[in-house]
Symmetry: C2
Subunit: 128 residues, 2 copies
DNA sequence: ATATGTGCAAACTGTTTGCACACGA
DNA sequence: TCGTGTGCAAACAGTTTGCACATAT
């Protein structure tokens, strides 16, 4: 039952921390290879799952249906551009408001807010 | 390019409208069979996609990673119980508040709020 | 008549699992 | 040493696609 510290877990967590792209497992593997390491895909899956259940990272999915991972565990929303598919953090969402309004049928532990639309960059291109 | 009205599309939409369980494609197929119809799985996938792009139904995914479909297109959040996995509608979330607070980097077309936790029924069982 | 939709099976993609081996404590 | 972690390949689950046939307009 004891968690063990391995080179692989450390590499994966480090890459997640230094990334601000909310990578998928595939993107994580690419990044790992790019840095000259090699970690089996199954190991990446197993480690991100562990990190999620330890609460060290968060996972979320977008319209693409693939899981993305995020080492930023503070409350924030995600915006995904339907045009360039970039995912951005949105920090100025007031969660207290959201939860306060909800009726008392549930005991809520997690609130996730997903925004979709067009980012300003893509909007400029469309407008032309 | 012209949309055609088929028996299959109609059955699928009807079942979605009369359901309040936010079914997955598999659950839709089961329901279809249960009512004595037969529609190929691929057809169900193709039709729900069409209905989504026509804006007649909404799709969303939960922690289970599977897509759920919802004929209720009015703005509302979803709560999923981590214990019994039931999905409930939550109507009393004020979206205006959420959007108003967000900075102007994006042109937002969709806001989806996903809540997780324990429903009162499961909470009672846990408390015992 | 003809273009769009259907059903089936095969292909694809993301994720999980079984197993032998490696390695951290 | 011994139990947890790793790497590989195979298995799985959800979804998409190619193709011949069916059907709505």
């Amino acid at each position: 039952m004891k968690e063990r510290n391995t080179r692989q877990k450390e590499i994966i967590y480090d890459i997640l921390c230094s990334s601000n792209n909310h990578p998928t497992v595939k993107e994580l593997c690419d990044e790992i290879n790019m840095k000259g390491y090699h970690i089996g895909q199954a190991t990446v899956y197993r480690n991100v799952s562990k990190l999620v259940s330890l609460g060290k990272i968060k996972k979320f999915s977008t319209v693409d249906g693939v899981e993305h991972y995020d080492a930023n565990c503070t409350f924030h929303a995600h915006f995904v551009c339907n045009c360039c598919h970039k995912i951005c953090d949105v920090d100025d969402v007031c969660y207290d408001n959201i939860i306060a309004q909800i009726d008392k049928r549930f005991c809520i532990s997690t609130v996730s807010v997903m925004l979709e639309g067009t980012c300003n960059l893509c909007q400029e291109i469309i407008d032309k």
